[in-house]
Protein backbone atom coordinates (compact mmCIF):
# COMPACT_ATOMS: atom_id res chain seq x y z
CA UNK A 1 0.00 0.00 0.00
CA UNK A 2 2.73 2.42 1.00
CA UNK A 3 4.54 1.53 -2.14
CA UNK A 4 1.48 2.17 -4.22
CA UNK A 5 0.92 5.54 -2.60
CA UNK A 6 4.46 6.71 -3.09
CA UNK A 7 4.46 5.58 -6.71
CA UNK A 8 1.09 6.90 -7.67
CA UNK A 9 0.45 9.72 -5.20
CA UNK A 10 2.27 12.19 -7.36
CA UNK A 11 0.42 10.95 -10.42
CA UNK A 12 -3.03 11.19 -8.82
CA UNK A 13 -2.49 14.76 -7.75
CA UNK A 14 -1.07 15.64 -11.17
CA UNK A 15 -4.11 14.12 -12.85
CA UNK A 16 -6.44 16.25 -10.77
CA UNK A 17 -4.41 19.35 -11.50
CA UNK A 18 -4.60 18.42 -15.18
CA UNK A 19 -8.36 18.08 -14.97
CA UNK A 20 -8.67 21.55 -13.49
CA UNK A 21 -6.41 23.04 -16.15
CA UNK A 22 -8.65 21.43 -18.72
CA UNK A 23 -11.61 23.13 -17.03
CA UNK A 24 -9.81 26.46 -17.10
CA UNK A 25 -9.67 26.21 -20.88
CA UNK A 26 -13.21 24.90 -21.03
CA UNK A 27 -14.68 27.98 -19.34
CA UNK A 28 -13.87 30.44 -22.14
CA UNK A 29 -14.73 27.73 -24.63
CA UNK A 30 -18.22 27.59 -23.10
CA UNK A 31 -18.63 31.07 -24.54
CA UNK A 32 -17.09 29.91 -27.80
CA UNK A 33 -13.71 31.50 -27.17
CA UNK A 34 -10.62 29.48 -28.01
CA UNK A 35 -8.16 30.96 -25.56
CA UNK A 36 -4.74 29.46 -25.06
CA UNK A 37 -3.96 31.83 -22.21
CA UNK A 38 -4.36 29.30 -19.38
CA UNK A 39 -0.63 28.43 -19.13
CA UNK A 40 0.11 32.12 -18.72
CA UNK A 41 -2.24 32.45 -15.77
CA UNK A 42 -1.13 29.12 -14.39
CA UNK A 43 2.47 30.29 -14.45
CA UNK A 44 1.54 33.62 -12.92
CA UNK A 45 -0.44 31.97 -10.13
CA UNK A 46 2.53 29.73 -9.43
CA UNK A 47 4.90 32.68 -9.24
CA UNK A 48 2.55 34.46 -6.86
CA UNK A 49 2.61 31.47 -4.52
CA UNK A 50 6.34 30.85 -4.98
CA UNK A 51 7.26 34.47 -4.27
CA UNK A 52 4.89 34.83 -1.34
CA UNK A 53 6.00 31.63 0.34
CA UNK A 54 9.73 31.96 -0.20
CA UNK A 55 10.17 35.72 0.10
CA UNK A 56 7.25 37.15 2.05
CA UNK A 57 5.87 34.64 4.53
CA UNK A 58 9.13 32.81 5.25
CA UNK A 59 7.67 30.36 7.75
CA UNK A 60 9.14 27.02 8.75
CA UNK A 61 7.90 23.80 7.20
CA UNK A 62 5.32 22.38 7.27
CA UNK A 63 3.90 25.36 5.46
CA UNK A 64 0.56 26.31 7.08
CA UNK A 65 -2.48 25.30 5.06
CA UNK A 66 -4.12 28.61 5.89
CA UNK A 67 -1.32 30.45 4.14
CA UNK A 68 -1.60 28.13 1.15
CA UNK A 69 -5.28 28.95 0.91
CA UNK A 70 -4.44 32.63 1.23
CA UNK A 71 -1.96 32.31 -1.62
CA UNK A 72 -4.54 30.57 -3.75
CA UNK A 73 -6.93 33.42 -3.05
CA UNK A 74 -4.35 36.07 -3.89
CA UNK A 75 -3.28 34.22 -7.04
CA UNK A 76 -6.91 33.95 -8.08
CA UNK A 77 -7.49 37.65 -7.55
CA UNK A 78 -4.36 38.73 -9.41
CA UNK A 79 -5.08 36.41 -12.33
CA UNK A 80 -8.70 37.52 -12.36
CA UNK A 81 -7.66 41.17 -12.57
CA UNK A 82 -5.15 40.48 -15.31
CA UNK A 83 -7.79 38.38 -17.02
CA UNK A 84 -10.10 41.38 -17.18
CA UNK A 85 -7.31 43.69 -18.35
CA UNK A 86 -6.21 41.33 -21.11
CA UNK A 87 -9.59 39.85 -21.85
CA UNK A 88 -11.66 42.95 -22.49
CA UNK A 89 -9.59 44.20 -25.42
CA UNK A 90 -8.50 40.77 -26.68
CA UNK A 91 -11.98 39.30 -26.80
CA UNK A 92 -13.01 41.62 -29.57
CA UNK A 93 -11.02 39.20 -31.67
CA UNK A 94 -12.58 36.09 -33.03
CA UNK A 95 -11.49 32.53 -33.66
CA UNK A 96 -7.90 32.13 -34.70
CA UNK A 97 -7.12 35.80 -34.04
CA UNK A 98 -8.00 35.39 -30.40
CA UNK A 99 -5.99 32.18 -30.17
CA UNK A 100 -2.95 33.99 -31.59
CA UNK A 101 -3.39 36.95 -29.25
CA UNK A 102 -3.47 34.61 -26.25
CA UNK A 103 -0.37 32.80 -27.51
CA UNK A 104 1.35 36.19 -27.67
CA UNK A 105 0.20 36.92 -24.13
CA UNK A 106 1.67 33.64 -22.85
CA UNK A 107 4.95 34.29 -24.66
CA UNK A 108 5.24 37.82 -23.27
CA UNK A 109 4.71 36.54 -19.73
CA UNK A 110 7.26 33.80 -20.35
CA UNK A 111 9.94 36.22 -21.54
CA UNK A 112 9.23 38.46 -18.55
CA UNK A 113 9.49 35.51 -16.17
CA UNK A 114 12.79 34.52 -17.76
CA UNK A 115 14.29 37.94 -17.24
CA UNK A 116 12.90 39.50 -14.09
CA UNK A 117 14.74 39.21 -10.78
CA UNK A 118 11.66 38.59 -8.72
CA UNK A 119 10.86 35.43 -10.70
CA UNK A 120 14.39 34.12 -10.35
CA UNK A 121 15.21 34.58 -14.03
CA UNK A 122 16.00 31.50 -16.05
CA UNK A 123 16.61 29.27 -13.03
CA UNK A 124 13.32 30.13 -11.41
CA UNK A 125 12.40 29.76 -7.76
CA UNK A 126 13.55 26.80 -5.69
CA UNK A 127 12.66 25.25 -2.38
CA UNK A 128 9.05 26.27 -2.27
CA UNK A 129 7.95 25.07 1.19
CA UNK A 130 5.80 21.98 1.58
CA UNK A 131 2.56 21.99 3.52
CA UNK A 132 2.46 18.17 3.51
CA UNK A 133 4.73 15.23 4.24
CA UNK A 134 4.08 13.42 0.96
CA UNK A 135 2.63 14.25 -2.44
CA UNK A 136 -0.52 12.18 -1.93
CA UNK A 137 -1.61 14.44 0.92
CA UNK A 138 -2.11 17.23 -1.61
CA UNK A 139 -5.32 15.41 -2.37
CA UNK A 140 -6.73 17.15 0.72
CA UNK A 141 -6.54 20.37 -1.22
CA UNK A 142 -6.91 19.39 -4.86
CA UNK A 143 -9.72 16.90 -4.58
CA UNK A 144 -12.17 19.27 -2.89
CA UNK A 145 -11.08 21.99 -5.29
CA UNK A 146 -11.77 19.78 -8.29
CA UNK A 147 -15.17 18.84 -6.91
CA UNK A 148 -16.00 22.46 -6.26
CA UNK A 149 -14.92 23.51 -9.75
CA UNK A 150 -16.88 20.70 -11.32
CA UNK A 151 -19.97 21.56 -9.31
CA UNK A 152 -19.46 25.20 -10.23
CA UNK A 153 -19.29 24.52 -13.95
CA UNK A 154 -22.14 22.01 -13.75
CA UNK A 155 -24.36 24.61 -12.13
CA UNK A 156 -23.11 27.35 -14.41
CA UNK A 157 -24.37 25.50 -17.47
CA UNK A 158 -27.87 25.55 -16.04
CA UNK A 159 -28.23 29.19 -15.07
CA UNK A 160 -28.70 32.55 -16.73
CA UNK A 161 -25.01 33.39 -17.03
CA UNK A 162 -24.11 29.99 -18.42
CA UNK A 163 -26.95 30.20 -20.91
CA UNK A 164 -25.56 33.54 -22.06
CA UNK A 165 -22.14 31.90 -22.57
CA UNK A 166 -23.65 29.07 -24.54
CA UNK A 167 -25.77 31.40 -26.63
CA UNK A 168 -22.63 33.30 -27.61
CA UNK A 169 -20.90 30.04 -28.46
CA UNK A 170 -23.80 28.94 -30.64
CA UNK A 171 -24.24 32.22 -32.49
CA UNK A 172 -22.68 35.39 -31.22
CA UNK A 173 -24.69 37.72 -33.44
CA UNK A 174 -27.98 36.12 -32.55
CA UNK A 175 -27.08 36.27 -28.86
CA UNK A 176 -26.18 39.93 -29.25
CA UNK A 177 -29.53 40.55 -30.91
CA UNK A 178 -31.25 38.84 -27.98
CA UNK A 179 -29.84 41.42 -25.58
CA UNK A 180 -26.77 39.55 -24.40
CA UNK A 181 -23.64 41.70 -24.23
CA UNK A 182 -21.04 39.45 -25.86
CA UNK A 183 -18.02 41.43 -24.70
CA UNK A 184 -19.10 41.26 -21.08
CA UNK A 185 -19.85 37.56 -21.03
CA UNK A 186 -16.83 36.58 -23.06
CA UNK A 187 -14.61 38.55 -20.70
CA UNK A 188 -16.39 36.95 -17.75
CA UNK A 189 -15.85 33.43 -19.11
CA UNK A 190 -12.23 34.25 -19.87
CA UNK A 191 -11.68 35.68 -16.40
CA UNK A 192 -13.23 32.68 -14.66
CA UNK A 193 -10.83 30.48 -16.60
CA UNK A 194 -7.92 32.76 -15.65
CA UNK A 195 -8.84 32.59 -11.96
CA UNK A 196 -9.03 28.80 -11.99
CA UNK A 197 -5.69 28.49 -13.81
CA UNK A 198 -4.09 30.90 -11.34
CA UNK A 199 -5.37 28.99 -8.32
CA UNK A 200 -4.16 25.71 -9.78
CA UNK A 201 -0.78 27.32 -10.44
CA UNK A 202 -0.51 28.39 -6.81
CA UNK A 203 -0.99 24.80 -5.63
CA UNK A 204 1.29 23.40 -8.31
CA UNK A 205 4.16 25.64 -7.27
CA UNK A 206 4.14 24.04 -3.83
CA UNK A 207 3.44 20.61 -5.21
CA UNK A 208 6.35 20.75 -7.64
CA UNK A 209 8.59 22.45 -5.10
CA UNK A 210 10.14 24.61 -7.80
CA UNK A 211 8.75 27.03 -10.35
CA UNK A 212 10.27 28.44 -13.53
CA UNK A 213 9.45 29.88 -16.93
CA UNK A 214 8.97 26.44 -18.44
CA UNK A 215 5.63 26.18 -16.65
CA UNK A 216 3.92 28.60 -18.98
CA UNK A 217 4.85 27.78 -22.54
CA UNK A 218 3.22 27.25 -25.86
CA UNK A 219 3.71 23.51 -25.40
CA UNK A 220 1.62 23.70 -22.28
CA UNK A 221 -1.06 25.52 -24.25
CA UNK A 222 -1.19 22.68 -26.74
CA UNK A 223 -1.37 20.09 -24.02
CA UNK A 224 -4.26 21.74 -22.17
CA UNK A 225 -6.04 22.27 -25.44
CA UNK A 226 -5.70 18.57 -26.10
CA UNK A 227 -7.25 17.81 -22.72
CA UNK A 228 -10.32 19.71 -23.75
CA UNK A 229 -10.67 18.89 -27.42
CA UNK A 230 -9.96 15.21 -27.16
CA UNK A 231 -11.75 14.86 -23.84
CA UNK A 232 -14.75 16.66 -25.26
CA UNK A 233 -15.46 20.34 -25.48
CA UNK A 234 -19.24 20.24 -25.18
CA UNK A 235 -19.56 19.10 -21.60
CA UNK A 236 -17.37 19.86 -18.60
CA UNK A 237 -16.78 16.14 -18.05
CA UNK A 238 -14.77 16.11 -21.27
CA UNK A 239 -11.90 18.30 -20.08
CA UNK A 240 -11.93 16.68 -16.65
CA UNK A 241 -11.57 13.24 -18.15
CA UNK A 242 -9.19 14.46 -20.85
CA UNK A 243 -7.01 16.20 -18.28
CA UNK A 244 -6.79 13.07 -16.15
CA UNK A 245 -6.18 10.61 -18.96
CA UNK A 246 -3.63 12.69 -20.81
CA UNK A 247 -1.74 13.54 -17.64
CA UNK A 248 -1.60 9.86 -16.84
CA UNK A 249 -0.76 8.84 -20.40
CA UNK A 250 3.03 8.73 -19.96
CA UNK A 251 2.58 6.49 -16.93
CA UNK A 252 0.10 4.33 -18.76
CA UNK A 253 2.48 3.93 -21.68
CA UNK A 254 5.33 3.12 -19.34
CA UNK A 255 3.17 0.46 -17.69
CA UNK A 256 2.34 -1.03 -21.07
CA UNK A 257 5.99 -0.94 -22.04
CA UNK A 258 6.78 -2.98 -18.94
CA UNK A 259 4.49 -5.83 -19.92
CA UNK A 260 6.69 -8.83 -20.49
CA UNK A 261 6.96 -10.32 -23.96
CA UNK A 262 6.81 -7.02 -25.81
CA UNK A 263 9.38 -6.61 -28.59
CA UNK A 264 12.25 -4.45 -27.39
CA UNK A 265 11.82 -1.77 -30.02
CA UNK A 266 8.14 -1.39 -29.16
CA UNK A 267 8.79 -1.18 -25.46
CA UNK A 268 11.43 1.43 -26.10
CA UNK A 269 9.12 3.38 -28.37
CA UNK A 270 6.37 3.36 -25.76
CA UNK A 271 8.79 4.69 -23.20
CA UNK A 272 10.67 7.32 -25.19
CA UNK A 273 8.21 8.09 -27.92
CA UNK A 274 5.25 8.90 -25.71
CA UNK A 275 5.00 12.45 -27.01
CA UNK A 276 4.90 11.11 -30.55
CA UNK A 277 1.96 9.00 -29.48
CA UNK A 278 0.46 12.04 -27.80
CA UNK A 279 0.68 13.97 -31.08
CA UNK A 280 -0.74 11.08 -33.07
CA UNK A 281 -3.66 10.86 -30.68
CA UNK A 282 -4.38 14.52 -31.31
CA UNK A 283 -4.36 14.03 -35.07
CA UNK A 284 -6.46 10.89 -34.89
CA UNK A 285 -8.79 12.38 -32.30
CA UNK A 286 -9.60 15.46 -34.37
CA UNK A 287 -10.31 13.22 -37.32
CA UNK A 288 -12.43 10.53 -35.72
CA UNK A 289 -13.80 12.23 -32.62
CA UNK A 290 -14.37 15.81 -33.73
CA UNK A 291 -16.56 16.40 -30.67
CA UNK A 292 -14.15 14.70 -28.31
CA UNK A 293 -14.60 11.46 -26.41
CA UNK A 294 -17.27 12.62 -23.98
CA UNK A 295 -20.17 14.23 -25.78
CA UNK A 296 -23.53 15.42 -24.48
CA UNK A 297 -25.23 12.79 -26.66
CA UNK A 298 -23.16 10.07 -25.06
CA UNK A 299 -24.16 11.25 -21.61
CA UNK A 300 -27.81 11.50 -22.57
CA UNK A 301 -27.80 8.03 -24.07
CA UNK A 302 -26.28 6.67 -20.91
CA UNK A 303 -28.71 8.36 -18.57
CA UNK A 304 -31.60 7.26 -20.72
CA UNK A 305 -30.55 3.65 -20.76
CA UNK A 306 -30.17 3.81 -17.00
CA UNK A 307 -33.61 5.32 -16.59
CA UNK A 308 -35.11 2.55 -18.67
CA UNK A 309 -33.64 -0.09 -16.50
Amino acid sequence: MNDFVSTYGFLFVSMILGAMLGLSLYLPLMAGQLSLASPGFYALGGYVAAILSTKVFQVKEPFPIALLLLEMLIAGIICGLLGVIVGVPALRLRGIYLAIATIAFVEILRVLALNLDVTGGAVGIFGIPQPFQSPIEYLWIVLPLLLISMAFVYRLEKIRVGRAFIAIREDELAADSMGINPTYYKALAFTLGAILAGVVGAISAHFLNTWNARQGTFDASIIYLTFVLIGGSRTFLGPVLGGMVFTALPEILRAIADTPGLPVWLAQFLRDGRLIIFGLLIVIGTRFFPQGLVTPQLLKRRSRSQANR
Binding site: P89, L275, I282
Partner: protein, 316 residues
Amino acid sequence: MNLTVFLQNVLNGLSIGSIYAIFALGYTLVFSILGIINFAHGAVFTLGAYFTYMLMGNAFGFNGLLANLALPIRLPFVLALFFGSIAAGLVSVLIERLAFCPLRRKKADSLLTVVSSLGVAVVIVNLIQYLVGAEIYTFPPDTYGTLPPAINFGTEANPIPIRSVQVVIFVVSGVIVSLLTYLINATKYGKAMRAVAEDPTTASLLGIDPDRFIVLTFFVSGFLGGLAGTLVGSSVSIAGPYFGIGFGLKGLAVIVLGGLGSIPGAVVGGLTIGLVEAFVPGDYSAYKDAVAFGILFIMLLVRPQGLLGRSLVQKV
Protein backbone atom coordinates in the same frame (compact mmCIF):
# COMPACT_ATOMS: atom_id res chain seq x y z
CA MET B 1 24.74 55.46 -32.21
CA ASN B 2 27.30 55.98 -34.94
CA LEU B 3 26.68 55.36 -38.59
CA THR B 4 28.53 52.06 -38.78
CA VAL B 5 26.59 50.54 -35.92
CA PHE B 6 23.41 51.90 -37.39
CA LEU B 7 24.12 50.37 -40.79
CA GLN B 8 25.09 47.10 -39.19
CA ASN B 9 21.86 47.05 -37.26
CA VAL B 10 19.92 47.75 -40.41
CA LEU B 11 21.67 44.97 -42.27
CA ASN B 12 21.28 42.56 -39.36
CA GLY B 13 17.63 43.44 -39.17
CA LEU B 14 17.05 43.00 -42.89
CA SER B 15 18.95 39.74 -42.85
CA ILE B 16 16.96 38.07 -40.09
CA GLY B 17 13.87 39.89 -41.34
CA SER B 18 14.19 38.35 -44.77
CA ILE B 19 14.30 34.90 -43.19
CA TYR B 20 11.17 35.78 -41.20
CA ALA B 21 9.61 36.88 -44.46
CA ILE B 22 10.42 33.67 -46.32
CA PHE B 23 9.18 31.61 -43.43
CA ALA B 24 6.03 33.68 -43.03
CA LEU B 25 5.26 33.45 -46.73
CA GLY B 26 4.84 29.73 -46.16
CA TYR B 27 2.25 30.39 -43.46
CA THR B 28 0.51 32.98 -45.55
CA LEU B 29 0.15 30.90 -48.70
CA VAL B 30 -1.69 28.19 -46.80
CA PHE B 31 -3.74 30.67 -44.83
CA SER B 32 -4.78 32.52 -47.93
CA ILE B 33 -6.25 29.47 -49.62
CA LEU B 34 -7.59 27.54 -46.63
CA GLY B 35 -8.09 30.20 -43.98
CA ILE B 36 -6.16 28.02 -41.57
CA ILE B 37 -2.92 28.53 -39.73
CA ASN B 38 -0.71 25.52 -40.20
CA PHE B 39 0.99 25.15 -36.85
CA ALA B 40 3.12 22.35 -38.24
CA HIS B 41 4.94 24.93 -40.35
CA GLY B 42 7.45 25.56 -37.54
CA ALA B 43 8.20 21.85 -37.41
CA VAL B 44 8.76 21.76 -41.17
CA PHE B 45 11.20 24.62 -40.70
CA THR B 46 13.14 22.47 -38.24
CA LEU B 47 13.06 19.50 -40.56
CA GLY B 48 14.46 21.56 -43.43
CA ALA B 49 17.51 22.40 -41.36
CA TYR B 50 18.08 18.76 -40.41
CA PHE B 51 17.62 17.64 -44.02
CA THR B 52 20.23 20.05 -45.31
CA TYR B 53 22.56 19.10 -42.49
CA MET B 54 22.17 15.46 -43.49
CA LEU B 55 22.53 16.01 -47.22
CA MET B 56 25.83 17.75 -46.66
CA GLY B 57 27.08 14.45 -45.29
CA ASN B 58 27.27 15.60 -41.68
CA ALA B 59 26.92 12.94 -39.01
CA PHE B 60 24.40 12.85 -36.19
CA GLY B 61 25.31 12.73 -32.52
CA PHE B 62 25.26 9.98 -29.97
CA ASN B 63 21.60 9.99 -29.06
CA GLY B 64 18.53 8.69 -30.74
CA LEU B 65 17.82 5.87 -33.10
CA LEU B 66 19.98 7.29 -35.88
CA ALA B 67 22.96 8.01 -33.66
CA ASN B 68 26.22 8.52 -35.54
CA LEU B 69 24.56 8.00 -38.87
CA ALA B 70 25.81 9.97 -41.85
CA LEU B 71 24.64 9.81 -45.44
CA PRO B 72 27.19 8.50 -47.92
CA ILE B 73 26.75 11.64 -50.03
CA ARG B 74 28.25 15.08 -49.56
CA LEU B 75 26.36 17.75 -51.41
CA PRO B 76 27.69 21.29 -51.53
CA PHE B 77 25.68 23.75 -49.48
CA VAL B 78 23.60 25.21 -52.29
CA LEU B 79 22.49 21.81 -53.57
CA ALA B 80 21.86 20.48 -50.09
CA LEU B 81 19.82 23.57 -49.34
CA PHE B 82 17.79 23.03 -52.47
CA PHE B 83 17.12 19.33 -51.97
CA GLY B 84 16.65 19.76 -48.23
CA SER B 85 13.96 22.33 -48.90
CA ILE B 86 12.35 20.05 -51.48
CA ALA B 87 12.25 17.31 -48.88
CA ALA B 88 10.64 19.75 -46.44
CA GLY B 89 8.11 20.61 -49.14
CA LEU B 90 7.28 16.93 -49.58
CA VAL B 91 6.79 16.51 -45.85
CA SER B 92 4.47 19.47 -45.97
CA VAL B 93 2.45 17.77 -48.70
CA LEU B 94 2.34 14.63 -46.58
CA ILE B 95 1.01 16.68 -43.68
CA GLU B 96 -1.67 18.08 -45.95
CA ARG B 97 -2.74 14.62 -47.06
CA LEU B 98 -2.77 13.12 -43.58
CA ALA B 99 -3.93 15.93 -41.33
CA PHE B 100 -5.66 18.57 -43.40
CA CYS B 101 -7.30 16.79 -46.28
CA PRO B 102 -9.47 14.36 -44.30
CA LEU B 103 -10.84 17.16 -42.17
CA ARG B 104 -11.48 19.31 -45.19
CA ARG B 105 -13.40 16.49 -46.82
CA LYS B 106 -15.55 16.27 -43.70
CA LYS B 107 -15.99 20.04 -43.73
CA ALA B 108 -14.81 20.09 -40.14
CA ASP B 109 -14.57 23.23 -38.05
CA SER B 110 -11.39 25.12 -38.92
CA LEU B 111 -10.30 25.15 -35.29
CA LEU B 112 -10.15 21.37 -35.39
CA THR B 113 -7.81 21.58 -38.33
CA VAL B 114 -5.65 23.98 -36.40
CA VAL B 115 -5.51 21.51 -33.54
CA SER B 116 -4.72 18.70 -35.93
CA SER B 117 -1.80 20.71 -37.28
CA LEU B 118 -0.62 21.24 -33.71
CA GLY B 119 -0.75 17.49 -33.28
CA VAL B 120 1.42 17.05 -36.35
CA ALA B 121 3.90 19.55 -34.94
CA VAL B 122 4.08 17.56 -31.71
CA VAL B 123 4.67 14.36 -33.68
CA ILE B 124 7.42 15.80 -35.86
CA VAL B 125 9.28 17.53 -33.07
CA ASN B 126 9.32 14.42 -30.91
CA LEU B 127 10.07 12.14 -33.81
CA ILE B 128 13.17 14.21 -34.48
CA GLN B 129 14.11 13.91 -30.85
CA TYR B 130 13.49 10.17 -30.97
CA LEU B 131 15.64 9.76 -34.06
CA VAL B 132 18.55 12.13 -33.55
CA GLY B 133 18.32 13.29 -29.95
CA ALA B 134 17.80 16.72 -28.48
CA GLU B 135 21.31 18.08 -28.88
CA ILE B 136 22.35 21.18 -30.73
CA TYR B 137 23.78 20.58 -34.19
CA THR B 138 26.19 23.09 -35.65
CA PHE B 139 27.04 23.19 -39.32
CA PRO B 140 30.78 22.79 -39.92
CA PRO B 141 32.70 26.05 -40.42
CA ASP B 142 33.38 25.34 -44.09
CA THR B 143 29.66 25.04 -44.86
CA TYR B 144 29.64 28.07 -47.12
CA GLY B 145 32.86 27.01 -48.88
CA THR B 146 35.79 29.36 -48.70
CA LEU B 147 34.02 32.63 -47.93
CA PRO B 148 35.85 34.80 -45.41
CA PRO B 149 33.98 35.23 -42.09
CA ALA B 150 33.15 38.83 -42.91
CA ILE B 151 33.06 41.08 -45.91
CA ASN B 152 33.84 44.77 -45.71
CA PHE B 153 31.18 47.00 -47.23
CA GLY B 154 32.80 50.27 -46.14
CA THR B 155 36.14 51.73 -47.00
CA GLU B 156 39.39 50.59 -45.52
CA ALA B 157 39.47 53.61 -43.23
CA ASN B 158 35.82 53.25 -42.35
CA PRO B 159 35.10 49.54 -42.34
CA ILE B 160 31.55 48.23 -42.26
CA PRO B 161 32.12 44.52 -41.83
CA ILE B 162 29.17 42.28 -42.52
CA ARG B 163 29.20 38.59 -41.66
CA SER B 164 29.35 36.53 -44.85
CA VAL B 165 26.46 34.45 -43.58
CA GLN B 166 24.29 37.47 -43.82
CA VAL B 167 25.39 38.07 -47.35
CA VAL B 168 24.49 34.49 -48.17
CA ILE B 169 21.11 34.96 -46.55
CA PHE B 170 20.54 38.13 -48.54
CA VAL B 171 21.41 36.48 -51.82
CA VAL B 172 19.28 33.44 -51.12
CA SER B 173 16.29 35.44 -49.93
CA GLY B 174 16.61 37.79 -52.86
CA VAL B 175 16.57 34.85 -55.27
CA ILE B 176 13.64 33.23 -53.49
CA VAL B 177 11.52 36.34 -53.32
CA SER B 178 12.16 37.04 -57.01
CA LEU B 179 11.31 33.46 -57.95
CA LEU B 180 8.16 33.57 -55.88
CA THR B 181 7.17 36.88 -57.40
CA TYR B 182 7.63 35.32 -60.80
CA LEU B 183 5.67 32.23 -59.80
CA ILE B 184 2.83 34.31 -58.49
CA ASN B 185 2.66 36.78 -61.32
CA ALA B 186 3.42 34.71 -64.38
CA THR B 187 2.14 31.18 -63.89
CA LYS B 188 -1.38 29.86 -63.91
CA TYR B 189 -1.14 28.51 -60.38
CA GLY B 190 0.44 31.67 -59.15
CA LYS B 191 -2.33 33.78 -60.56
CA ALA B 192 -4.88 31.48 -59.03
CA MET B 193 -3.10 31.70 -55.70
CA ARG B 194 -3.21 35.45 -55.80
CA ALA B 195 -6.79 35.52 -56.93
CA VAL B 196 -7.77 33.19 -54.12
CA ALA B 197 -5.83 35.20 -51.58
CA GLU B 198 -7.85 38.20 -52.63
CA ASP B 199 -11.16 36.43 -52.84
CA PRO B 200 -11.49 32.81 -51.75
CA THR B 201 -14.59 32.15 -53.82
CA THR B 202 -12.83 32.57 -57.13
CA ALA B 203 -10.72 29.40 -57.05
CA SER B 204 -13.25 27.16 -58.66
CA LEU B 205 -14.08 29.74 -61.29
CA LEU B 206 -10.57 29.67 -62.66
CA GLY B 207 -10.87 26.09 -63.82
CA ILE B 208 -8.24 24.85 -61.42
CA ASP B 209 -8.36 21.52 -59.70
CA PRO B 210 -8.55 22.65 -56.08
CA ASP B 211 -6.92 19.50 -54.74
CA ARG B 212 -3.81 19.80 -56.88
CA PHE B 213 -3.74 23.48 -56.18
CA ILE B 214 -3.77 22.89 -52.44
CA VAL B 215 -1.06 20.25 -52.69
CA LEU B 216 1.13 22.59 -54.70
CA THR B 217 0.58 25.38 -52.20
CA PHE B 218 1.59 23.11 -49.34
CA PHE B 219 4.67 22.09 -51.27
CA VAL B 220 5.75 25.68 -51.86
CA SER B 221 4.93 26.54 -48.26
CA GLY B 222 7.00 23.63 -46.94
CA PHE B 223 9.84 24.47 -49.31
CA LEU B 224 9.95 28.03 -47.97
CA GLY B 225 9.73 26.81 -44.39
CA GLY B 226 12.53 24.30 -44.87
CA LEU B 227 14.67 26.88 -46.60
CA ALA B 228 14.24 29.36 -43.76
CA GLY B 229 15.13 26.58 -41.33
CA THR B 230 18.36 25.85 -43.14
CA LEU B 231 19.30 29.53 -43.32
CA VAL B 232 18.87 29.96 -39.57
CA GLY B 233 20.35 26.53 -38.77
CA SER B 234 23.44 27.03 -40.88
CA SER B 235 24.09 30.60 -39.79
CA VAL B 236 23.58 30.00 -36.08
CA SER B 237 22.92 26.36 -35.23
CA ILE B 238 20.12 23.85 -35.10
CA ALA B 239 19.10 24.34 -31.51
CA GLY B 240 17.41 20.97 -31.10
CA PRO B 241 14.04 19.63 -32.21
CA TYR B 242 12.09 22.46 -30.60
CA PHE B 243 14.02 25.03 -32.55
CA GLY B 244 11.24 25.70 -35.03
CA ILE B 245 8.48 26.13 -32.47
CA GLY B 246 9.66 29.45 -31.13
CA PHE B 247 10.44 30.56 -34.64
CA GLY B 248 6.99 29.44 -35.71
CA LEU B 249 5.40 31.58 -33.05
CA LYS B 250 7.40 34.55 -34.18
CA GLY B 251 6.21 33.82 -37.70
CA LEU B 252 2.68 34.27 -36.38
CA ALA B 253 3.63 37.74 -35.23
CA VAL B 254 4.97 38.45 -38.70
CA ILE B 255 1.87 37.39 -40.57
CA VAL B 256 -0.52 39.10 -38.21
CA LEU B 257 1.51 42.28 -38.45
CA GLY B 258 1.53 42.13 -42.24
CA GLY B 259 -2.07 40.96 -42.47
CA LEU B 260 -3.19 37.33 -42.39
CA GLY B 261 -3.26 35.96 -45.91
CA SER B 262 -1.50 38.92 -47.49
CA ILE B 263 1.55 37.94 -49.54
CA PRO B 264 3.26 41.35 -49.60
CA GLY B 265 2.21 41.67 -45.97
CA ALA B 266 4.34 38.68 -45.02
CA VAL B 267 7.41 40.34 -46.53
CA VAL B 268 6.72 43.74 -44.99
CA GLY B 269 5.90 42.15 -41.63
CA GLY B 270 9.05 40.02 -41.67
CA LEU B 271 11.36 42.89 -42.47
CA THR B 272 9.67 45.15 -39.94
CA ILE B 273 10.01 42.70 -37.08
CA GLY B 274 13.58 41.89 -38.09
CA LEU B 275 14.49 45.58 -38.05
CA VAL B 276 12.73 46.34 -34.79
CA GLU B 277 14.50 43.42 -33.11
CA ALA B 278 17.86 44.53 -34.46
CA PHE B 279 17.43 47.89 -32.79
CA VAL B 280 16.58 46.54 -29.35
CA PRO B 281 19.45 47.92 -27.21
CA GLY B 282 22.00 45.39 -26.04
CA ASP B 283 21.02 45.82 -22.39
CA TYR B 284 17.52 44.64 -23.15
CA SER B 285 18.41 41.95 -25.66
CA ALA B 286 16.91 39.35 -23.33
CA TYR B 287 13.55 40.95 -24.00
CA LYS B 288 14.02 40.75 -27.74
CA ASP B 289 11.68 37.82 -28.06
CA ALA B 290 8.96 39.71 -26.28
CA VAL B 291 9.15 42.55 -28.78
CA ALA B 292 7.63 40.60 -31.65
CA PHE B 293 4.82 39.40 -29.43
CA GLY B 294 4.25 42.83 -28.01
CA ILE B 295 3.91 44.16 -31.55
CA LEU B 296 1.63 41.26 -32.37
CA PHE B 297 -0.60 41.83 -29.37
CA ILE B 298 -0.93 45.55 -29.97
CA MET B 299 -1.48 45.07 -33.68
CA LEU B 300 -4.31 42.63 -33.02
CA LEU B 301 -5.97 45.12 -30.74
CA VAL B 302 -5.70 48.21 -32.91
CA ARG B 303 -5.79 46.77 -36.38
CA PRO B 304 -6.47 43.04 -36.44
CA GLN B 305 -6.40 42.94 -40.22
CA GLY B 306 -2.72 43.92 -40.10
CA LEU B 307 -0.77 46.46 -42.11
CA LEU B 308 -1.76 45.20 -45.53
CA GLY B 309 -4.73 42.94 -44.85
CA ARG B 310 -8.28 43.44 -45.92
CA SER B 311 -10.68 44.60 -43.23
CA LEU B 312 -12.53 41.86 -41.44
CA VAL B 313 -16.20 42.32 -42.05
CA GLN B 314 -18.44 39.40 -41.65
CA LYS B 315 -21.63 38.90 -43.52
CA VAL B 316 -24.74 39.00 -41.38
